[in-house]
């Protein structure tokens, strides 16, 4: 009933090809954006903004990057953390060495730097596939980790190897409160998610998907694997790089290479797999699941006044969270996005299923 499309006629190609062809989806999206842009900054607590929304949005952005590569182009990557680190350290060096640069330009350029590194580490994908490629990207992760902790130039010769973001401002407007940081991230994530959504609907995205589904067939119909794969690596790393710069500058404020270690890469891969490979919505769902469920599990016992020790709560968090991951993967191997799609199908027919 909620999703009844009766009466929604598509009278032009534009209507038919819209990102959200169903009116209810458009309203839903408008509602979510209104909540994110208007309601949250006004009503949410600082804790909700800084510890849940900001990391959630940045994770979602990085997950989109990884999903473009793994979900759409079929190239497994374990190097997302490393590409995020490239973005973070590029942003740091740009901001420290060229202080005149606008922050937005810094973020774009650091994404660009990550894209270049991504292309270099994407070259092996032309020869190797699957697990072997995963190992090659793993090498990227370890190499980048090593580079940022050993090559002192990247950290501007700070004695401890930990660097801090300089004071941030855009056109003289200081980005120093949680709300402002949140707003900046929200704008960037909205724009980039929209770009990603359109990218995968267009020629480039289709060429990626063709490569993913069968690379020989794709080559025969005229898609050049070199261009398709390397463009996927470049775009994916660009997203990861911007996410890394945001993570470093707007979330942590000060960081060391450990902030972008292999665990970050695994976490992002889990987000993409649990959220749904080949789905932009899935990136948000996966990021929300991986980030928020452990935090919720960690806070429930205290909120309910259960007399459990800190260690016990922490162990429970790991156990329940692990069980939930297994549960969701068994229930729906195609991820949370697929669950949502199934739910939508059912809602269309409800209350009169066949």
């Amino acid at each position: 009933m909620l999703y009844r499309e009766a009466g929604q006629f598509k009278t032009s190609y534009d209507d038919d090809q819209a990102v959200f062809p169903i009116r209810q989806d458009r309203w839903g999206m408008a509602f979510i954006l209104a909540v994110a842009y208007v309601a949250l900054p006004f009503f949410a607590t600082d804790y909700f903004i800084t510890s849940i929304m900001i990391p959630f949005l940045i994770y979602a952005l990085a997950a989109i990057g990884l999903n473009l590569l793994t979900g759409y182009c079929g190239q497994v990557s374990l190097g997302t953390g490393g590409f995020m680190a490239v973005g973070a350290y590029a942003a740091y060096n740009l901001a420290i060495r060229v202080p005149e640069l606008n922050l937005i330009v810094v973020f774009i350029l650091s994404g660009g730097a990550a894209a270049m590194v991504g292309v270099v580490f994407g070259i092996p994908s032309l020869r190797i596939k699957g697990f072997y490629l995963a190992v090659a990207t793993l090498a990227a992760q370890f190499f980048l980790d090593w580079a940022f902790s050993r090559i002192k130039w990247f950290t501007n010769y700070t004695p401890s190897g930990s660097v801090a973001a300089p004071p941030l401002d855009i056109f003289g407007f200081a980005i120093n409160t949680p709300d402002r940081r949140y707003f900046l991230i929200l704008v960037i994530v909205t724009v980039m998610a929209l770009a990603a959504k359109n990218l995968v609907r267009g020629r480039v995205g289709r060429s990626w998907m063709a490569i993913r589904d069968m690379d020989i067939a794709a080559e025969i119909i005229g898609i050049r694997p070199l261009r398709a794969k390397l463009s996927a690596f470049a775009v994916s790393s660009f997203f990861a790089g911007v996410a890394g710069a945001l993570w470093a500058f707007l979330h942590l404020g000060a960081w060391e290479p450990l902030a972008f270690d292999i665990n970050r890469s695994f976490l992002l891969l889990f987000m993409v797999i649990i959220g749904g490979l080949g789905s932009i919505l899935g990136c948000f769902l996966g990021a929300a699941f991986i980030l928020m469920v452990p935090l919720a599990l960690n806070q429930i016992p205290t909120a309910l006044g259960m007399p459990l020790s800190t260690a016990m709560i922490s162990h429970l968090e790991f156990m329940i969270f692990g069980a939930l991951i297994v549960f969701f993967l068994i229930v729906e191997p195609h991820g949370l996005a697929r669950l949502w799609a199934l739910g939508k199908e059912k809602l269309r027919l409800w209350p009169f299923p066949h």
């Binding site: 607590t45 600082d46 804790y47 909700f48 800084t50 510890s51 990391p55 420290i96 902790s149 501007n156 004695p159 401890s160 190897g161 930990s162 801090a164 973001a165 300089p166 004071p167 120093n176 409160t177 979330h251 942590l252 404020g253 000060a254 960081w255 060391e256 450990l258 902030a259 270690d261 928020m292 469920v293 935090l295 919720a296 599990l297 960690n298 806070q299 429930i300 205290t302 909120a303 309910l304 020790s309 800190t310 260690a311 709560i313 922490s314 162990h315 790991f318 939930l324 969701f328 229930v331 729906e332 669950l339 199934l342 739910g343 059912k346």
Partner: protein
Amino acid sequence: MRKHWRIATLGVLGAAAMTLAGLGEAMAQNEQFLPRLTYRTGPYAPNGVPFANGYADYLNLLNERDGGINGVKLTFEECETGYDTARGVECYDRLKGKGPTGAAVVDPLSTGITFALTEKAPGDKIPLITMGYGRSESQDGSVFGWNFPLLGTYWAAADIIMNYVAQKEGGYGKLKGKKISLVYHDSPYGKEPIPLLEELSKRHGFTFTALPVTHPGVEQKATWLQIRQARPDYVLLWGWGVMNSTSIKEAAAVNYPRNKMIGVWWSGAEPDVTPAGDGSKGYLAAALHAIGDQFPVHRDIVKNVYDKGKGAAKKEEIGHVLYNRGVVNAFLATEAMRKGQARFGNKPLTGEQMRWSLENLDITATRIKEAGFEGLVYPMKLSCQDHMGSARARIQQWDGSKWSFVSDWIEADRKLLDPMVAAAAKKYADEKKITPRDCSKEM
């Protein structure tokens, strides 16, 4: 399929509802809230647990014996960071607003978390106590207004240990041509002492090599192979958690003399030496404070906390190195609160008041004796400029069953540290565009 979908929806909604429920909380008025960032799980748990227990026991002692500080009850909540920076920042944000005045002081107990919170503390106006850790240049209170690396930084630690080495060799002049290696946790924590050791090696002509060990430090074969080949005269150990015991085991395996190995004060606790068994006999480490449960404060803790069944640790763990460190850390924080209450009245302090209290903290020998800490800690005095107070430690040796001191209190050379601190703090201030406070005008 339909049923599964329903269960999943319920689960997600339930989790969301509970998160929201956790956000609201009742508050009491005459209570001072302390957020406790701890790690009782993960590779660093063996060291995180006793520290957290000691801290909790001392706060409970004040509550049980004295009813808090001047009638202000101390409340605290632990949040598990697992030594992870992102999670630590989340814990800080979760707890900073609790209690009637919010968090008055935070002890991050991780160098990584300290670096991240150093960026946030000035905005939130919450002082950070990083007792014996943190960033070394944060000793300079004019630039790092909210950091308090009490009792000593890593630069101070490295200098104290090198002073001990020099003493043993018969003066700094004898260090020429010696080889000193540093085995360090490859993180900001382990890298902190390197600039100071490099500076000392330049001044005194010894060869210094730094050997990194990747987090969490269970794989050190390659590092110790290098040590076996190079045979340095001394090995300094800057490890944490399982890395420490692994290092000592590896040293025993390559037969490097343990009495030439000197750990920092975070590498000199019981969980570091006991796993290696007899292999750790003779191992040396710096000690920030005394060890053992023979002090009056421990008797009070047993009487007022453990006998009422409110103790956090097992009774036999009272007096362990890191347990005592937790007690000392809680002692310094609560002493600052006393100082603040004397000025601002007997009520919960805000972060800003707490900063004033810390900057004017003066713990005298008389006060130490009165509080039952005689012999446990050294008197200290802070100021607006100097956020470290004293920088003294003793060297202790493990004889296979207990630690005993092999040196008297050694003081770090402030003439060496202060210019380095000033230079590093200035660099930070330039990067962050901070105008240093003029401490001569502060009250």
